[in-house]
Symmetry: C2
Subunit: 236 residues, 2 copies
């Protein structure tokens, strides 16, 4: 099933973008009368019928809608320092979306190897993963935030910071509540600095471990999503 991502959908008719129209008519070879599915990224899954199979402005008529499709129990926000190798960061974006995440913030840390990200490119990667993994919810992608400013802002839920230094750390799986909200911070290749961990602690973050293994940044991000998803599905 191919899902068209149409966040601006409203009413009972829609015109696909030029890119999606071309894909619909030239790649999928669909024509007038054929059924298609659209998602709004907020849980809405729409059944529709093509009214005009134009390869630049294909129009559809909405025939049905399901709400809150695949709604996740709990809420996960992962704030992670993008890796020097942008492919690894994009791998994280894709896998986090497949497994399950609600919000992602690229972090600018003291030891960050990458100080900018291309927001448009990140959005494309996430949208492609949403469509490919048949999700009705599109994760929120925030602009890059400075670490100190980010940890100071309020978050209603459990706040965790994962790092590799020897310290009193609790396993993340003990802190994630299946129906609760979780914010997890993942540091750059060189880890968070002791000052950053201290600043996070002062702002109510708990130091966590993601297990016994030393994980790369992007792997840690994916493992975080796995742990949260497993807790949500196990319901414990």
């Amino acid at each position: 099933m191919y899902l068209f991502y149409t966040p601006d959908i409203s009413g009972d008719a829609y015109t696909l973008s030029e890119e999606e129209s071309k894909h619909c008519v030239r790649v999928l070879r669909l024509g007038t009368g054929d059924a298609v599915h659209l998602i709004d990224g907020r849980g809405g899954l729409y059944a529709a019928q093509i009214t005009e199979a134009h390869d630049k402005r294909c129009t559809v008529r909405i025939t049905g809608v399901q709400r809150e499709v695949g709604k996740r129990s709990g809420y996960l926000h992962v704030a992670l320092a993008p890796t020097k190798n942008v492919e690894r960061y994009e791998w994280f974006l894709e896998k986090a979306t497949e497994i399950g995440v609600d919000e992602i913030t690229p972090l600018l840390c003291e030891r960050s190897e990458r100080r900018t990200v291309k927001a448009e490119r990140s959005e494309k990667v996430v949208t492609a993963a949403v469509k490919q993994s048949l999700k009705a919810y599109h994760p929120h992608l925030n602009p890059m935030r400075d670490f100190a400013a980010f940890v100071a802002q309020p978050f209603d839920g459990v706040k965790c910071i994962a790092h590799c230094m020897a310290s009193q750390k609790r396993p993340l799986q003990h802190l994630v509540h299946p129906q609760g909200r979780t914010l997890a911070l993942i540091g750059p290749e060189g880890d968070f600095s002791p000052l950053e961990v201290e600043l996070a602690r002062q702002n109510g973050f708990v130091e966590v471990s993601l297990g016994n293994s030393r994980l790369r940044t992007e792997t840690a991000g994916v493992v975080t999503c796995c742990i949260a998803q497993l807790k949500a599905e196990l319901g414990i």
Copy 2:
């Protein structure tokens, strides 16, 4: 800490390969008398001292050894159909090694998009991940196996097949025993065929789900490792 991978280590002296000697002397800039660490891939972590810092045949003297370093409770064998895009398959090899896996078999399935893999290349990816994630155990990488032949061979432990078809599937996390042995099959992009699933069932495999999400092949492989590792560390 840089780990030299030396599976053929024996006795109290060792000569590094040409490649590792060059890395030791030219990249790490280590010299005679400096301390290094070696792993044999079977749990042994060796402390050593450089006796001659030659950039082609660097020799070391073993000064100490720890056994069973990071020994995993339980045993996980993941048999997965390599993806058409070989980079995705190599991402899986790397991430599975980081998170924790004991044995990997590339599978040749009915709907396989990739019918050969370069064993030497796969081995390099896994070895690099072992060293980078500071592991003393090197996963076993098997040659590609035909599905029917593979499911027919004996395995002492829980045997699972993950697929996307509608069926009575049990969550993998309910089947993985923290101290037990698990074999998990992950299919190609187009999933296992109904005939393959039936053949697996006849050979004692249990149909499992990896959660509510539709996962790519390589993601399913990584999630499998996460689930097993989480069960092992949670001890439940």
